[in-house]
């Protein structure tokens, strides 16, 4: 493709990412009876990556060959493209249609196994979910945070947020089987091995999904770390890591002493972590702030290594709190993923290509070009079938 065409195409996808295409509310959903082209089924034991992009589709990448295996189309409009891979490693759940629907897609044949639309149009309640979606360890339940707004005739009333529990077996047209009051501002969620639901908001809460009871499991906004200021936490990417870590980056400052002089404070990057197997928590500084990362993760190979990405891909030695190496990128990438042996880093989000880096040397290994447009803020996930 010549540069001019590439520019035009990239411009289009960027504009789409910025919301330039506008919003249309789909009132009814029609499901395609027979997907036009479904590609091969996934093979047991093989490693794959899924990522979503415009116009509204899920791509399966084969990580043995680092190539595009297939593309499944999803009904409705795109965004945000949060993906969660079910424990069966066959169903991929996607939060989409302008934050208002979840589809479960069987990536073997691209069929739709699950669909729910949150909004209750009959009662004029519009409901969105801001990145908050997780599955129970057995894959039987789907958890979605709901942010409802009652659209009265001449005014809106924002309603309390709540957690909605769905039976994934309810298929198309599923409705919540239980709902529980839940705090506002929850972004990403993950379930522990014990079935507890971790919800990252002002703090990281843990909810009993049977009773709806929740407590602060790991404080962030309300942490009590002497000399530290309250952290800032950006998180829109619920990454399912090979190491079963629920990792959330924070930025903060640490004063030198009780005088609390910001001018001499250390500016610090760190992560909050919940081990999803054990529930153990960590609040760990890993280096000084020199640039912003949208996502980061611990290496599946060596938990002392943390990677972060936005305008560069950076690797930190956690114990030494030191940047080991940073790789320049062809463009910004939002969402990080790593393969299970921790040898490769896969960068997605923004534009329409996944970049691959060697986790040891930090050298670029290549790109996988995706059909369609911008990934925007899609969450990419790596899994073994």
């Amino acid at each position: 493709m010549n540069n001019k065409n590439k520019m035009r195409k990239t411009l289009r996808s960027l504009m789409a990412g910025a919301g330039i295409l506008g919003a249309t509310l789909t009132s009814g959903v029609t499901y395609a009876d027979a997907p036009e082209k479904v590609g091969p089924a996934l093979k047991a034991g093989q490693e794959y990556m899924v990522v979503a992009n415009y116009p509204n589709q899920i791509h399966v990448l084969d990580l043995q060959t680092d190539s595009l295996l297939k593309t499944c189309k999803v009904p409705g409009a795109y965004g945000p493209g949060v993906l969660q891979v079910a424990p069966d490693k066959k169903t991929v759940y996607m939060l989409t249609n302008h934050y208002e629907d979840v589809y479960g897609i069987n990536v073997d044949d691209c069929s739709i196994s699950f669909h729910t639309t949150f909004s209750d149009r009959q009662n004029s309640v519009r409901t969105k979910s801001l990145f908050s979606m997780a599955l129970s360890p057995d894959g039987k339940e789907l958890y979605v945070m709901h942010n409802p707004t009652k659209l009265n005739r001449d005014h809106y009333r924002v309603q309390d947020t709540y957690l909605a529990v769905y039976n994934t077996a309810d298929g198309k047209g599923a409705k919540p089987v239980r709902t529980f009051p839940a705090p506002r501002q929850v972004t990403v969620m993950a379930t522990g091995k014990d079935g507890g639901l971790y919800m990252a908001g002002a703090d990281i809460y843990k909810m009993d999904v049977k009773t709806g009871k929740y407590d602060v499991h790991l404080p962030s906004r309300n942490w009590e770390r002497p000399l530290y200021v309250q952290p800032d936490v950006l998180n829109a990417w619920p990454i399912q890591t090979p190491s079963k870590d629920f990792t959330i980056l924070y930025t903060t400052a640490r004063f030198q002493d009780e005088k609390q002089d910001l001018a001499t404070a250390d500016w610090i990057y760190g992560y909050l972590n919940v081990d999803l197997e054990t529930g153990e928590t960590e609040t760990t500084d890993f280096g000084p702030i020199t640039e912003i990362y949208f996502t980061g993760m611990k290496s599946p190979k060596d938990p002392n290594l943390v990677f972060g990405v936005l305008n560069r891909l950076a690797k930190y030695d956690v114990k030494q709190q030191k940047l080991i190496k940073a790789a320049e990128l062809d463009h910004s990438y939002y969402c990080i993923a790593m393969n299970h042996d921790g040898s490769k880093v896969y960068l997605g989000g923004t534009y329409d290509d996944v970049a691959i880096y060697d986790a040891d040397s930090m050298e670029k290994l290549g790109n996988i070009k995706l059909p369609g447009g911008d990934m925007a803020i899609s969450t990419s996930q790596v899994f073994i079938r």
């Binding site: 540069n3 590439k6 520019m7 035009r8 990239t10 411009l11 960027l14 504009m15 910025a18 919301g19 330039i20 295409l21 506008g22 919003a23 965004g79 302008h98 934050y99 519009r126 969105k128 801001l130 942010n147 707004t149 659209l151 005739r153 001449d154 005014h155 809106y156 009333r157 924002v158 506002r184 501002q185 972004t187 002002a202 906004r221 309250q230 800032d232 936490v233 950006l234 829109a236 305008n311 320049e328 990128l329 062809d330 463009h331 910004s332």
Partner: protein, 533 residues
């Protein structure tokens, strides 16, 4: 998310306060339109003295009302003709507008001064409101607490990510908005005010007649002339402008205008083939008209406009140009105003050699500065009328680039948004009695011709070669034209042609060349271009 977008409708709305057709604007028609179009959702609270839910409990500028109805069209499916919309905007702006003094702090938003750097003492107001849009958009509304509360619910309901963004995710955004901001806003910008009560019963300015005007446009210079206003019907007027730029080029045009709320003048004038908009305010006594005139298609290309009504008993100076004269040199000086009779004085050190041209509304003289004049900023008088300033100088001591900070925006290249230029002027200063530039007693000499160029603002800008990619500075005019829109594969990380530039003005004064600098951020397109930023 459901972003308001730059749709053709949005573009049309931005331009809609003056239309070339003539809607009726009659009150009874407006009431009928509201009843026919708005009561699908709004409730009629009183039929005899028209009062409707939400609508009747807010006060806004014409731009504010236009945005509200435009939002109803874009988000809520309202179907309304442009004429009907114009009739309702006029009715609401008159009936529920802002008094002149209620707009004074925030006129820059209506005047489309989109590079204004706002600054608010109340950091909570800034973080809760002016984080996403201008604070002016808020400050140009008046509501009771219940309506500010509705606004909070609308914001979070329409844009649920509001409470997740930076400067929101670190606090309990929604409770703060409801429990702290609502009471604060209803105190800062209350529905009921003495100013508004008084303005409603006050005698309103009479626009009909002749106005002596002066304009100043960076990169173009000064001009003046007469603007003649005749009434078409009600608050609609025909306008003709007859004047010249300082270089003798005609400054001539005609168009139409509407007056809202008794003092808000909105005109569309074809000025020598270029469609311009006037966003002006009349003074309460009706003797002055001032604000900004800008090109309809390029609102960054604008001029300062000030005018005095050319009527018996009004004696004023509104502008003097050029602004200065070097010791030992001569120049023509034009004084613009009205009722200008009697001797012209340009202050100490300047002699008025000859009156070259004189009308009731302007005087042009040949002025000569004494060879041994020292730098001073003089008051100007014509007969008994004081006003304006004229500087004489023997030496320029420092140069300030104006504006000291501004933005340009990439555009074009097949995209929907044109390039937004930036314009600069070199302002000369004398050091004053202490001989040190940059101190309190500095004397403003005024604008001088300069030679212009840009440099990298910092190391990052140098490394990314911003000077090459971000655009071109015209060396003579100080007009900066930014680069093409879109990712540029030639740039590091295929980034846009954005840049961080130091804008340098070089001014020759005798044997010395002085430099001053400012900062220009070349940034991306403004996609969401509402009538109030």
């Amino acid at each position: 998310m459901n972003t308001i977008i730059k749709s053709p409708l949005a573009l049309a709305i931005t331009a809609a306060l003056t239309t070339t057709v003539l809607p009726s604007y009659a009150q009874e028609d407006a009431v009928k339109i509201v009843q026919g179009k708005c009561l699908a959702c709004h409730t009629e609270e009183n039929q005899a003295a028209p009062q409707w839910s939400r609508i009747s409990h807010q006060r806004k500028t014409p731009e504010g009302w236009l945005m509200t109805i435009g939002r109803m069209q874009m988000m809520h499916g309202l179907q309304i003709s442009d004429d009907d919309r114009a009739t309702v905007v006029k009715y609401l702006a008159d009936r529920q507008g802002l008094a002149p003094e209620e707009t004074s702090t925030y006129r820059y938003a209506m005047e489309r001064r989109l590079d204004t750097m706002e600054s608010f003492e109340d950091s909570q107001f800034e973080e809760m409101c002016a984080r996403c849009h201008s604070g002016a958009r808020v400050g140009l509304q008046r509501r009771p607490a219940a309506e500010w509360e509705h606004l909070v619910h609308f914001h979070l309901g329409q844009w649920p990510s509001t409470e997740y963004q930076a400067l929101a995710r670190d606090r309990d955004w929604f409770p703060i908005a409801l429990n702290e901001m609502v009471p604060k806003l209803s105190k800062m910008f209350p529905m009921d005010s003495n100013s508004w009560d008084q303005w409603q019963s006050a005698a309103k300015p009479d626009f009909v007649g002749q106005w002596s005007f002066a304009v100043h446009q960076p990169g173009r210079g000064d001009g003046s002339g007469l603007m003649t206003i005749t009434q078409q019907a009600g608050d609609r007027y025909s306008v003709s402008m007859e004047g010249t730029w300082a270089d003798g080029t005609p400054l001539k045009g005609s168009g139409t205008a509407i007056v809202y709320t008794g003092f808000e003048w909105r005109a569309e004038i074809d000025l020598g083939g270029v469609i311009t908009r006037q966003v002006l305010a009349a003074s309460k006594d009706g003797m002055n008209l001032s604000g900004r005139v800008f090109e309809a298609a390029h609102d960054e290309r604008g001029m300062e406009f000030s005018a005095a009504k050319a009527t018996t008993g009004n004696h004023q100076i509104v502008a003097v140009y050029p602004q200065n004269l070097k010791a030992g040199e001569s120049t023509e000086v034009t004084i613009v105003g009205t009722g200008l009779k009697g001797r012209v004085s340009l202050g100490n050190g300047v002699s008025v050699e000859k009156v070259l041209k004189r009308t009731y509304n302007s005087v042009t003289v040949l002025a000569k500065a004494d060879a041994n004049a020292t730098t001073s900023a003089n008051s100007v008088t014509v007969g008994g009328v004081n006003g304006g300033q004229f500087a004489v100088y023997n030496k320029v001591d420092s140069i300030k680039v104006q504006p000291a900070f501004t933005i340009a925006r990439v555009g074009g290249n097949g995209g929907s948004t044109p390039k937004v230029q930036a314009r600069f002027e070199a302002e000369a200063w004398g050091a004053g009695a202490d001989g040190k530039p940059g101190t309190e007693d500095d004397i403003r000499i005024g604008y001088l011709p300069a030679s212009w160029h840009v440099e990298p603002f910092d190391e990052a800008a140098r490394a990314d070669n911003d000077v090459y990619f971000a655009g071109r500075m015209d060396a003579t005019s100080g007009v900066f034209t930014p680069g093409n829109a879109g990712p540029n594969p030639e740039r590091r990380m295929s980034t846009n042609n954005a840049g961080n530039l130091k804008v340098v003005a070089s001014v020759k004064d005798g044997d010395q060349t002085l430099q001053g600098d400012g900062q220009l951020i070349v940034t991306v397109q403004r996609w969401n271009d509402a009538p109030l930023p």
